[in-house]
């Protein structure tokens, strides 16, 4: 949802040590342990954090200064393990193994330490330079879980720091430990995990042969284990890193053969080596946890289970989900009305002053036209209509995210995605699409199966992003809210918007199914989703964060696109060829075609010109109408409605515009992101064409049915 954070600063380019004096610290950890919160607190960066697994999909880097020393922090994607082979896990594993970081901080969740220790032990097997950060100590305290940190440090053989990153507690100690470790890197350390006898014997056989091949660049014990179990992808990565063959090596190959025979003789069949390895790690984690963690309250998760029973049960799960969405919209629309009007009036007043100022200057009319009627008016529309709903919707949505509700949405909807041969995690990427479709497309990396990921990418645009939300809200308020009176007006509007979103979800499912049956044939793959503990959202922080970062950032982008667009439209409306403006030429050309779909030439052209950013579609429509109409001042939705009605808008035009807004080609940024993510122009084209055809087809059916029935 957060475009800034998705900037891939590093996609596995190992740094060049000679020209970089900073110590490099990698942050690893299971998904959803507050790793990004630790990262943000240390670097002052504002990577998006939410309470669900899979937010960090690329490495993000930031700077941290501790006692005058400078550190480069690298935030790795969250992983449960370094042995499996999902895309994120490979990124994390490759960085820890081959990234030459000076130290790795493994962030753990104090409330489920045992499972987190799996990753800690796996990391310790690769490098001794590990600092364990036990995060969420405050949550653990609330759940009456106590952790013996000194004992944990003793058992793991590495420094341990407890912290509560959300309130910035314990971070100084964490960095003290890290800085100390960087000054005195550890060369040799005791094996963090003991393996069963036959495996240990095999390791002892292979490790000495490996030592001079590795030249200290990789941990020999770890490399030996990987070679013995024959983990092909890791071995290939190691060979690439070392620049020499390993499994085919003349000295190594026989040693490996003997090692494997030894293991087989010891009673572990070839296909069970991996099980034995994982079992050893897990039992070690279990043993350490049993020695250091104390649950003073056995029913510590009871409240979470109760909440889950309400939020995900058969009878209430989906109704509550839809109701939550409707309430969110209701608050947004009701709350946005008044400030919108206020801002619009204020900006109109400024516009008048600007006009007066230009008169006073004696500037030529066209200069005033371009700057005030062109650039200023479009920008002020974007600000007054977009700012209030976004400033209300984003914080509310972020609260839900922080609370831990989004994974429950994926849980509730997975069955329907599975029926369409897609993945339930697609629901999470759709939620990201609410903010920005480009971010949603990047977020699709959380889906492991390439086929299901493509489906999620192609259909992400059926969720309206914040650029389209204000358009939908404005049209609904103008044309449909007024169907009811007073309080009910806002309720009807909210329900209508909820209906639009539900339609978007239905279309996503339908198109996912269509793709699964045609271009992307296949069966649903496996699905593993963690439902993290609910957490009390940090209300003040969330509001400030989402307004400052998300809202203003998106608004800034909109203004940047809107200003030149305003200029171009003004020019098009005022440059005449053969007595008719350029704009009228274009819209006139598109008009007959657009009418087939319940739109008109102006609306269709606005969507085409709005390709750089959906935010400017409505301003373009307004400018186009104003250039021919008689209304010169526009300070509020009432006048806007009057302007639209004057240009033959009916409720059908409004409906079709909304449908087309929900279902048309993605904006240019999203298209480029799709190209980057899929590495294919073909799938980018499909992502462009499919929603457009769907939208046009639906508009055509609706418009002509309504006309045939004589409803307008």
């Amino acid at each position: 949802m957060y475009i800034k954070a998705n900037r891939p600063c590093n996609e596995s380019t190992p740094k060049n040590r000679s020209d970089d004096p900073d110590k490099v610290i990698a942050l690893a950890g299971n998904p959803n342990v507050g790793k990004s919160t630790v990262f943000n607190a240390l670097t002052g960066m504002k990577q998006h954090t939410g309470n669900w697994p899979g937010k960090t999909v690329v490495n993000v880097q930031g700077q941290h200064t501790h006692n005058g020393e400078s550190f480069r922090m690298v935030d790795l994607p969250g992983t449960y393990s370094l042995l499996a082979h999902s895309a994120e896990e490979e990124v994390a594993r490759d960085y820890i193994c081959f990234g030459d970081a000076d130290a790795v901080i493994v962030v753990c969740d104090a409330t489920s330490l045992e499972r987190n220790l799996n990753l800690v032990l796996q990391t310790l097997e690769i490098t001794g330079n590990v600092v364990v950060c036990v995060n969420l100590m405050d949550e653990a305290k609330k759940k009456k879980i106590s952790i013996d940190l000194p004992r944990l440090s003793e058992l793991l053989g590495c420094p341990v720091a407890g912290c509560s990153a959300r309130s910035k507690k314990g971070l100084k100690e964490l960095m003290d430990q890290t800085a100390m470790l960087c000054r005195n890197p550890r060369r040799a350390q005791p094996a963090p995990v003991p393996y069963p006898g036959p495996l240990e014997e095999a390791i002892a056989l292979v490790e000495p042969v490996l030592l001079d091949k590795l030249k200290g660049r990789l941990n020999s014990r770890w490399a030996a284990i990987r070679l013995i179990e024959g983990d092909a992808p890791i071995i290939t990565a190691m060979e690439r890193y070392l620049g020499c063959p390993l499994s085919a090596d003349a000295a190594l190959a026989p040693a490996l053969d003997r090692a494997r025979a030894l293991i087989e003789k010891g009673g572990i069949p070839r296909d069970r080596i991996r099980d034995a390895i994982v079992n050893s790690i897990i039992s070690r984690a279990e043993m350490i946890a049993a020695d250091t963690v104390r649950f003073e309250n056995a029913g510590y998760a009871l409240n979470d289970r109760r909440l889950d029973r309400i939020l995900t049960s058969k009878s209430t799960g989906i109704p509550i989900m839809v109701a939550l969405l409707a309430i969110l919209f209701w608050i947004t629309m009701t709350g946005a009305n008044y400030p919108s009007e206020l801002i619009a009036n204020g900006l109109a007043w400024v516009g008048d002053q600007l006009t007066g100022f230009f008169h006073w200057l004696g500037a030529p009319a066209w200069v005033r036209g371009i700057l005030v009627d062109g650039v200023y008016k479009v920008v002020s529309w974007v600000v007054s209509v977009m700012l209030p709903p976004m400033a209300i919707f984003f914080p509310l949505f972020t609260l839900l995210e922080d609370f831990g509700y989004l994974p429950r949405v994926a849980f509730n909807l997975d069955r329907y995605f599975k029926k369409c041969c897609a993945c339930g995690k697609q629901a999470l990427t759709m939620c990201m699409g609410f903010g920005c479709n480009a971010a949603g497309v990047v977020g699709c990396r959380i889906i492991d199966s390439p086929r299901e990921r493509l489906i999620a990418i192609i259909t992400n645009n059926f969720v309206p992003c914040n650029g389209r939300f204000p358009t939908l809200i404005a049209i609904i308020t103008m044309f449909f809210g007024s169907l009811a009176l007073g309080f009910m007006e806002s309720v009807v509007s909210a329900l209508m918007l909820t209906g639009v979103i539900v339609l978007g979800v239905v279309m996503t499912l339908a198109l996912s199914r269509f793709l699964s049956k045609t271009m992307l044939k296949g069966i649903p793959s496996s699905f593993v989703l963690e439902l993290p503990p609910y957490r009390k959202p940090q209300i003040g922080r969330v509001i400030v964060r989402s307004i400052m970062d998300r809202t203003l950032f998106v608004l800034g982008r909109a203004v940047v696109v809107a200003a030149p667009a305003g200029l171009i439209i003004w020019l098009m409306a005022n440059v005449h060829v053969g007595g008719i403006s350029l704009l009228a030429h274009c819209t006139g050309f598109l008009d007959p075609f657009a009418r087939l779909f319940g739109l008109d030439g102006v609306i269709l052209m606005a969507f085409v010109l709005g390709f750089p950013a959906n935010e400017i579609v409505v301003p373009i429509i307004i400018m186009a109408y104003m250039s021919t109409g008689s209304i010169l001042e526009l300070d509020g939705l009432h006048q806007l409605k009057a302007l639209l009605v004057q240009n033959d808008w009916t409720w059908l035009t409004a409906l079709c515009t909304m449908l087309f807004s929900l279902m048309h080609f993605p904006c240019s940024t999203t298209c480029l992101t799709i190209r980057k993510e899929t590495q294919s122009w073909k799938w980018t084209a499909v992502s462009f064409v499919l929603p457009t055809i769907t939208g046009l087809a639906l508009c055509f059916i609706v418009a002509n049915t309504v006309r045939l029935l004589g409803l307008v």
């Binding site: 449960y80 393990s81 042995l83 499996a84 082979h85 409330t111 489920s112 045992e114 499972r115 799996n118 296909d271 991996r274 099980d275 994982v278 079992n279 897990i282 039992s283 984690a285 998760a301 979470d304 289970r305 889950d308 029973r309 995900t312 049960s313 058969k314 799960g317 989906i318 849980f411 509730n412 997975d414 069955r415 329907y416 599975k418 339930g424 649903p524 496996s526 699905f527 593993v528 989703l529 963690e530 439902l531 993290p532 503990p533």
Partner: protein, 78 residues
Amino acid sequence: MAEISFPLSNLPIGSKAKVIDLNSDSPLKRRLLDLGLTRDTVVEAVQKSPAGDPIAYLVRGAVIALRSEDASNVLLSM
């Protein structure tokens, strides 16, 4: 002694059982192992989703949702 085994997908909500094996030709195996579903781990079925599938299980203090065909690869004993 032969154990009587049944798949995780048949575990009734609210009851617990011990893992005895993971179906070894399952591509999902590695992932399940990483989540801590090793032999002798106690699993509890905690919550069905609205459509009855997937089901959320409590494994080593974490709640993990699995689809029934994936969960059927995990064998339990009473």
